[in-house]
């Protein structure tokens, strides 16, 4: 019996799909069987991020409607034997899926895999409700921007009301230079405001653009700063005790500097 995570944010464009893909690779590299489910019906993208768009024959809608069996819709990753994608339908509408159908499908995936990661659509409407219904825990993605944090807070409220298990935070696209200049919210402030435990901080990284272009998640090579950060998060998810690296060192320097002046 595996564990189901929903990757969600409220706001669009903060890196839900990129995070889902990279954590999937990270978990698979740690030896786990993983399925990544795209719940963004009508606007799927997890397939292109993983570079698997040419292999899609069936999708989750076909499984839910009984057109094919689950096994036929699962796409095995090119690089990792234990990593699978369950794509979303591109022709259907989010309203075509019922929460009951989703619940049943997620339960089936949970039986077969160690980890099920669900890539949630943006927004808080039906698509969101369907994406969270079978999840045990939630990963909230936010960037250090006021709009994204506000939407994250809204989503956290909705998840808490739906009796979601643990809800953890990932702060994405952190720019240390801006933080040190006092022009970007520090992750500690975000943690403070949202009142969640943080599971990782991902630096803003141009490698993500290249990785998206190629359809190869940064965790495959795991040499870029974002790649390392995502590997660390995957490690923490499987229960390893991985310290938050260099980003915090800079903070302590900044606070020393601040203390020096406020004396």
């Amino acid at each position: 019996m595996g564990k189901v995570y929903v990757v969600t944010s409220g706001k669009g464009g903060v890196g839900k799909t990129t995070t889902t893909a990279n954590l999937g690779v990270g978990l698979a590299k740690n030896g786990n069987s993983v399925v990544l489910m795209d719940a963004d019906i009508g606007l799927r993208n997890l397939d292109v991020i993983l570079g698997l768009e040419n292999r899609i024959v069936y999708n989750s809608m076909d499984v839910m409607e009984g057109t094919c069996r689950l096994k036929q819709a699962l796409i095995k990753d090119k690089r990792y034997d234990k990593l699978f994608l369950l794509p979303a339908s591109q022709t259907n509408d989010k309203m075509d899926v019922s929460t009951e159908m989703m619940k049943k499908l997620v339960a089936e995936l949970k039986e077969k895999f160690d980890y099920v990661l669900i890539d949630c659509p943006a927004g808080i409407e039906q698509g969101f409700k369907n994406a969270i219904v079978g999840a045990d825990e939630a990963l909230i993605i936010t960037t250090p921007e006021i709009s994204s944090i506000r939407d994250a807070d809204r989503v956290i409220g909705l998840l808490a009301a739906s009796e979601m298990g643990e809800i953890k935070l990932i702060v994405n696209r952190v720019k240390m230079k801006l933080i040190n200049e006092g022009n970007m919210l520090h992750m500690d402030d975000i943690v403070d405001i949202l009142g969640l435990d943080i599971v990782g901080v991902v630096p803003d990284d141009e490698e993500i653009v290249i990785s998206t272009n190629r359809g190869e998640p940064v965790t495959v090579k795991a040499v870029s700063p974002s790649g390392k950060a995502y590997m660390n998060i995957a490690g923490r998810i499987v229960g390893e005790d991985i310290p938050f690296l260099n980003i915090d060192e800079k903070r302590s320097f900044a606070s020393k500097f601040k203390n020096f002046f406020s004396r």
């Binding site: 506000r150 807070d153 933080i179 006092g182 970007m184 919210l185 402030d189 405001i193 406020s262």
Partner: protein, 85 residues
């Protein structure tokens, strides 16, 4: 500290303040319309037993900052005169 040094507040501090204010509003689970409806009904019920200052009733809903699932409904009802049944 920054304000004194540079004469202007850093934008991250501005963001934090603005965010806090916005969230206080967002986290309120009950809208003003519902609160007012509730207030009207409460007045009716309480007035059956106690003479109250209807204009002075104050009703508000506060969400705790540490635990967003908890809050307090605070109703302040000034009593004019306790009626004999």
């Amino acid at each position: 500290m920054f304000e004194k040094l540079f004469g202007r507040k850093k934008s991250s501090a501005v963001a934090k303040d603005r965010l806090k204010l916005v969230l206080i509003h967002d986290r309120r689970l009950i809208s003003n319309t519902v609160l007012n409806e509730m207030k009207d009904e409460l007045i009716k019920v309480i007035s059956k037993y106690i003479k109250i200052e209807q204009e002075e009733i104050n009703i508000q809903f506060d969400v705790e900052t540490e635990n967003r699932n908890r809050g307090a409904l605070i109703v302040n009802v000034p009593v004019k005169d306790i009626l004999k049944k």
